[in-house]
């Protein structure tokens, strides 16, 4: 049957083209993901390295243990705060600066664009060093400025109540540049005649922003929210280089906790925690699509 054969041939050709990606994906992505899932159902520890299959199947034990793990619960809370406060903050700052740059409020546009984007391309290690200087309780710029107006600044990174907020502000500063560029592109895609029409109808700047900019920017905002949300849920670098999760675990994130658990050699347990984080990320993305996605008017 020539038709059948032709179909087979096409399938083989198709798979041949797809093979390089498929093989890489299966070996380095799919397999580890499945292996990690299997691992999360066992009590595999680093002491089992020589005989990784000689472990016990423990079912969902690791997952139930997570719920009772004081540190995991604390880390989940910290991460939640970081996302709930950090994502809107970063997006608001990015949107404000993008709108400012787009509407010509600022002169030296190119300079500001580069300036705002620089943190996004700077190494986190360099940023950490600078911010630790800035936030130093004795010699830091911030507390010295506060001192000028007679305020005795706190020990930002050393105090349980200010450490996480400090990291949120730092992350917003570090990440808004990328979103700003994305939003700027989105803004430039909005036809100018809409604004002209609105101006003729007597709409003010704020009304234009709410009536034209926000609705038309919705897909861009959704993209920004999803990307930032995924990134922030995996919070790791900032506490790792700035606070080591301290003081008193007030900046411990879920990813950091997983990292620690892998370090302690609790492979099965850490894999379970990773899966919980994975599900949380999927959940957050779905939620954002629901909230910000197109509402049947596309």
């Amino acid at each position: 049957m020539p038709k059948e054969r032709r179909r087979l041939r096409r399938a083989v050709t198709g798979w041949a083209f797809a093979a390089p990606f498929t093989v890489l994906f299966v070996v380095f992505s799919a397999l580890p993901v499945v292996a990690a899932l299997a691992m999360s159902l066992t009590d595999l520890r680093s002491t089992d390295l020589r005989n990784p299959f000689a472990v016990d199947f423990v079912g969902l034990d690791n997952y139930t243990r997570l719920v009772g793990d004081e540190l995991f619960v604390k880390a989940a809370g910290n991460t939640l705060i970081f996302v709930v406060v950090g994502v809107p903050l970063t997006m608001a700052v990015a949107l404000a600066s993008a709108t400012g740059l787009n509407s010509g409020l600022l002169r030296f546009k190119a300079l500001f664009r580069v300036g705002f984007y620089l943190p996004a391309v700077t190494s986190i290690v360099a940023i950490a060093v600078i911010w630790r200087f800035l936030l130093d309780p004795e010699a830091g710029l911030l507390n010295n400025l506060l001192g000028l107006v007679g305020v005795d600044g706190p020990n930002w990174l050393g105090d349980t109540s200010t450490a996480l907020p400090s990291l949120i502000v730092m992350s917003a500063w570090r990440n808004f540049g990328f979103l700003m560029i994305v939003f700027l592109a989105g803004l430039q895609g909005i036809p100018v005649d809409l604004y002209e029409a609105a101006t003729i109808d007597g709409a003010g700047r704020w009304q234009q922003f709410r009536g034209i900019t926000l609705p038309l920017l919705r897909p861009t905002l959704l993209f920004g929210a999803v990307v930032t949300g995924i990134g922030y849920l995996q919070l790791f670098e900032e506490p790792f280089v700035m606070t080591r999760g301290g003081p008193l675990s007030s900046t411990l994130s879920v990813s950091y906790h997983i990292y620690n658990q892998f370090g302690f050699g609790n492979y099965g347990y850490a894999a379970a925690a990773s899966y919980v984080l994975f599900v949380a990320i999927v959940g957050l993305s779905v939620l954002q699509f629901r909230l910000l996605g197109t509402r049947g008017d596309s």
Partner: protein, 422 residues
């Protein structure tokens, strides 16, 4: 298409579960016994992994060994400390280990439990020639794996000149005297802080456990943790009192200790031998006369912490006998002294300390004497995790003012939840 994908996922998961379910732990219990090492000189290539400075300097140093054993060749791979645990763990999983590796004392329990380390042949190494605390750190479930290579311990550094100003002429010998000295340094000698003790964070157990050990507290009894004891609570209360009485800072930025000590803002601190060099560098000319080191103050005993590193042979070693001979050479007293002169690692072999290179130095002699009464935590695979829990409770104790008895109970319950990994 979707049905295919779903099917594939189901199959993969089922296969993985079957694999996981089909295998189980064997009950274990088999005792490792050391095999004898053949006589004669070492031959062939001996591959060695070492971390940090040791890794950089060992290749050159090993030429002394190959001069005595012309048929042998020592190949050293320097491994950065950050990557060491990962690299060794990976090598064990792949059964591609070197013949010999330096093993951090905190890795010992974990790697010995994997069954990857070769038991120490008793005919080559005499247990008594090492510091007892150091030897204990190689023993897992009653069997020694590897030998101590170098050691370090903790003492109390203090400013002699400031102490004299405060009317203190002798080193503090008891807990009360240490407290009194910290107070005097602060009130009479103008130090902002009488003493610096680590207020939690990674490794603070190394500062707390010496006080606990000195008070007779223990970490384990068999497979059970024994953190929740009156002796531990009392030691924690003593440790906490330095913070509640504002004698010690609850927060000190990294790198601030040394300049503050040099400037006299901190009168004393607890640390190991490496600080001698740092202080001499930072203090400049003449500062060496202004400070000294006191051994741990006595309660029931004056026990300190013993750290350092072990060196071991892997079961999968290709050149096992020669590997052990290389370690035997490293353990010779005169080689240990030469190694000290090369990288400042303190000898783990007791008889090396009679060498004038070590016994001639007052501060080193203090550390040398302290090493005879110094303990290491039990070599259990979960120690890193237990100690991290310990550290976070110490932080609550020192910084947040958590009650000592509550702290001891919390450490005990967290440690028990983690288990001894046996």
């Amino acid at each position: 298409m979707t049905r295919h994908r779903r099917l594939a996922t189901v199959v993969a998961i089922a296969a993985a579960m079957a694999l996981a379910a089909g295998c189980g732990r064997d009950s274990g219990g088999e005792q490792d016994t050391a095999k004898a090492v053949g006589a004669g000189k070492a031959t062939g290539e001996i591959t060695v992994w070492a971390m940090g400075t040791e890794g950089e300097k060992l290749a050159e140093f090993a030429k002394g060994f190959t001069a005595e054993n012309p048929d042998a060749k020592v190949t050293v791979t320097a491994v950065p400390w950050d990557a060491a645990h990962q690299k060794i763990a990976g090598a064990i999983a792949a059964r591609q280990t070197p013949d010999v590796s330096m093993i951090g004392t905190t890795y010992q329990g974990e790697f010995a439990k994997t069954g990857a380390l070769d038991p120490t042949p008793a005919d080559l190494f005499a247990k008594d020639s090492y510091f007892p605390g150091a030897w204990d750190s190689t023993v897992v479930d009653g069997t020694a794996y590897g030998v101590p290579w170098y050691v370090e311990t903790r003492g109390i550094y203090y400013r002699k000149d400031l102490a004299a100003k405060a009317g203190i002429t002798a080193a503090p010998k008891t807990w009360d005297e240490l407290k009194a000295m910290a107070k005097a340094l602060q009130t009479k000698a103008g130090a902002k802080w009488g003493i610096n003790l680590q207020p939690g964070k990674t490794g603070s157990w190394q500062s707390v456990m010496p006080f606990a050990w000195s008070n007779g507290a223990t970490i384990t009894d068999g497979d059970k943790f024994t953190f929740d004891s009156p002796a531990m609570t009392e030691a924690l209360a003593y440790y906490q009192s330095f913070f509640t009485e504002k004698l010690a800072p609850t927060f000190l930025p990294e790198g601030q200790l040394e300049p503050d000590f040099v400037a006299g803002r901190i009168g004393a601190f607890m640390s190991g031998p490496w600080h001698v060099g740092i202080l001499k560098d930072q203090g400049g000319a003449g500062f060496a006369d202004k400070f000294t080191v006191a051994p741990m103050p006595v309660k029931q005993t004056g026990t300190s912490f013993i750290g350092g590193s072990n060196i071991a042979v892997f079961k999968d070693a290709k050149n096992r006998d020669s590997a052990w001979k290389f370690i035997q050479w490293l353990s010779k007293p005169d080689v240990q002294v030469k190694w000290y002169q090369t990288v400042s690692d303190l000898p783990a072999v007791q008889s090396a300390w009679t060498d004038p290179a070590l016994s001639g130095d007052a501060i080193l002699s203090t550390f040398g004497a302290q090493l005879k009464d110094a303990k290491a935590p039990p070599a259990i695979p979960t120690w890193e995790q237990v100690s991290a829990a310990f550290d976070s409770e110490v932080e609550k104790l020192a910084v947040a003012g958590q009650d000592p008895a509550t702290t001891a109970k919390a450490i005990e319950s967290k440690a028990t939840a983690i288990g001894t990994g046996s």
